[in-house]
């Protein structure tokens, strides 16, 4: 205690080192391994790719094979898969926002006791396995499923709707699974909104809708961005939902990656697909970080 400078730096170092070590071990190292594989060539061997760095006859050779990346851009199938993934993820994110915002807003306006119950109801489905919940949608959307039987019973349709194994089913699955990730950050933001700001807006002549657009919406921007990131980023790489609910024509990069890896056993190509996907996602993440940082700076100033 007398000379804190003696022990403080080491403690500080330790505190910083732990998350760094964590990131290094579980993020940087796996990423570098995938990056390495993406520069190799497919081989009938174990592991099924050629080494990138070789030490043969006293010569250290680094052989970077760019063919995997070249193939990604040469083959329109890959480009289409990327574009289609981004499109599906973007549309799903917008749908999540349109559904999630009113829900989060309503929950934030509830009495504190009711809020907790409502939040529990949002999170509760996640306690069941993700796979089982997606599987349950097959039972709902099937030609003989609950939805179609209900629609036939009410007489709204004459023949069962074909929803399962179409892009529509993929959208339904993604929106359903990722909705809590949209609601929670939005709720956390909206619950903090100072009600007096809305009263001030009404007082100055703004009707409720106008006050929402001019006050609530801009002040919840960081919640909207956080929610959209949390939905969009995992949705781009989604594999299970399009595989189980989407038809063969629902093209998503996750399925391409799966195909390269397990069907073709082309680890280098699969790795290149993964690296490009990561780079695509990195851009929105950086934009988000930049925004967060600016917000923090604004608050400190």
């Amino acid at each position: 205690m007398l000379r804190p400078s003696r022990w403080r730096p080491s403690v500080r170092l330790l505190v910083i080192a732990v998350p760094f070590l964590w990131l290094l071990l579980f993020f940087a190292v796996p990423f570098l391994i995938v990056l390495k594989i993406s520069f190799s060539r497919m081989a009938i061997a174990m592991p099924p790719y050629t080494p990138v760095v070789e030490y043969l006859d006293s010569a250290l050779t680094l052989r970077l094979n760019l063919g995997n990346y070249a193939a990604l851009f040469a083959d329109p199938q890959y480009v289409l898969a990327y574009l289609s993934s981004i499109q599906i993820a973007a549309v799903s994110t917008v749908l999540c926002l349109l559904i999630g915002y009113p829900m989060a807003y309503a929950i934030a306006r509830m009495r504190p006791a009711a809020r907790n119950i409502a939040l529990m109801a949002v999170v509760l489905p996640s306690w069941t396995s993700f796979l089982i919940r997606v599987y349950a949608w097959i039972g709902i959307l099937d030609a003989n499923g609950i939805l179609n039987r209900f629609l036939l019973w009410t007489g709204l349709v004459d023949a069962p709707l074909r929803i399962l194994y179409t892009p529509t089913a993929t959208y339904i699955g993604i929106v359903y699974c990722y909705l809590p990730f949209m609601i929670l950050p939005l709720y956390a933001n909206l619950v903090k909104l100072d009600q007096r700001l809305l009263e001030a807006a009404y007082d100055l002549g703004a009707r409720p809708w106008k006050a929402f657009v001019r006050i609530t919406l801009p002040l919840s921007r960081s919640g909207i961005i956080a929610g959209c990131m949390l939905v969009m980023i995992p949705a781009v790489g989604e594999f299970v939902i399009p595989e189980m609910l989407g038809g063969p024509d629902t093209l998503m990069i996750g399925r391409v990656l799966w195909g390269e890896f397990f069907s073709n056993r082309d680890w280098p190509a699969a790795s290149a697909v993964a690296i490009v996907m990561l780079l695509l996602l990195l851009v929105p993440i950086l934009v988000f970080n930049r925004h967060q940082q600016r917000q923090m700076e604004g608050r400190l100033a």
Binding site: E199, Y202, D203, L204, G205, A206
Partner: protein, 384 residues
């Protein structure tokens, strides 16, 4: 609604003519009562507020003053009663349709907008042209002397500057009624006394009628032309600051505003020219040099402000209105000291002493035997 009454055939609409509004009764609060789940926050309050005056609702927490203000702003609907402003019944109108603007407690400035945008917000809701808005915002900025800070965000301003932005924002639309909710609540003491006068100047320049809510009696007395003292949903007294201070209506008002010596007693003699009050606290009866409405034997309280009490070592002349005691405590305030004098009866009398000399060495000190005395018209007999 298009056909306006043009002759005397619409007998029921005679009150609608704006010219008929009595400036003495510009804002009428008529029997307003507000209940929350069986709890009565405001109980049958009636007030008439003059055009152009600054009227203060003064009271402690739970007195109903804020609820009444929120009824004026349209954020609460009265359970019973009416509010009429300039001949227009306000009660059915939502806040965004009232010609009333409020400066909120801790201001409620929009954090994502600049000073300029905050002030322009209300004008934009009226659908004014861009030029008209810019002109009015410029006018407001110069009124509160913030033209240089027009582009700043609220968090980049000091407390006093934020307050002026809030005031400019609430005056921008030229409301018929301005509401101030604890206007000095977020400022420190030094800034408070400066801003009180500055705020009054700005409000008087704009000529708007103003109702403010405060728990701070000094603030109410400094800023307001008239004050309504509220307690437990009731108006205890309405009057000018000096009326309320010098002629409190009852024990609550006397005790709430400033400090006071309250002496319980019984009316001994009730004459048209004078009254005497018998009390166990003083050896001699209290002599009051004016008549009151009461009866002999009525229990009353005698209220005497400490600054009206003379304290000295010499026995004063006369038979009444004096008592002997010992100095128990001295509270030094710099400009004056308050002496706590204990009487043989056990009662305590507070007496102010203006410190007009520096280092008054032969002044009165602890445990001194002193006389306290006052003039015939210095105290007030309270029956309520």
């Amino acid at each position: 609604m298009a056909a306006a009454p043009t002759d005397g055939t619409h007998a029921g609409t005679h009150a609608a003519a704006p010219a008929a509004v009595d400036p003495e009764r510009y804002l009428r609060i008529e029997g307003v009562r507000k209940e929350f789940d069986g709890f009565v926050a405001v109980d049958d309050v009636s007030l008439d507020i003059r055009k152009g005056e600054i009227f203060a609702l003064l009271g402690g927490s739970g007195s109903g003053k804020s609820t009444l203000l929120r009824c004026l702003g349209g954020f609460e609907r009265p359970t019973r009663g009416r509010i009429v402003l300039d001949g227009q019944v306000l009660d059915p109108l939502p806040p965004y349709e009232r010609p009333v603007n409020m400066m909120f407690q801790s201001y409620a400035l929009f954090p994502h907008m600049t000073v300029e945008q905050n002030i322009a917000f209300g004008l934009k809701q009226d659908g004014l042209s861009g030029d008209a808005i810019a002109a009015r915002v410029g006018e407001m900025l110069s009124l509160v002397q913030l033209a240089k800070l027009a582009g700043r965000k609220p968090h980049q301003l000091s407390g006093g500057q934020q307050q002026r932005v809030a005031l400019a924002r609430s005056l921008a639309k030229g409301p018929k009624l301005l509401l101030l909710d604890e206007p000095m609540g977020a400022l420190d003491k030094k800034l408070r006394s400066r801003m009180q006068l500055e705020l009054v100047n700005i409000i008087e320049q704009s000529g708007v009628t103003c109702v403010m809510v405060t728990h701070d009696q000094e603030e109410a007395m400094t800023m307001a032309t008239r004050i309504a003292v509220m307690d437990q949903g009731w108006i205890q007294q309405v009057g000018k600051p000096d009326d309320i201070y010098e002629q409190p209506a009852n024990r609550f008002v006397a005790g709430f505003i400033g400090s006071v010596n309250l002496i319980e007693g019984i009316i001994d003699e009730d004459q048209p020219e004078y009254v005497t009050v018998r009390t166990g606290d003083f050896p001699a009866p209290i002599y009051v040099g004016h008549g009151i409405t009461g009866y002999e034997g009525q229990p009353v309280a005698f209220a005497l402000r400490p600054e009206k009490v003379y304290i000295g070592k010499q026995e004063p002349d006369g038979d009444n209105n004096k008592a002997r005691g010992t100095v128990e405590d001295i509270a030094y305030f710099g400009s004056h000291s308050v002496y706590h004098v204990r009487l043989p009866s056990g009662a305590k009398v507070l007496a102010n002493f203006a410190n007009m000399k520096r280092w008054d060495s032969d002044g009165i000190t602890w445990n001194d035997e002193v006389w306290v005395s006052w003039d015939d018209n210095d105290g007030v007999v309270l029956t309520g």
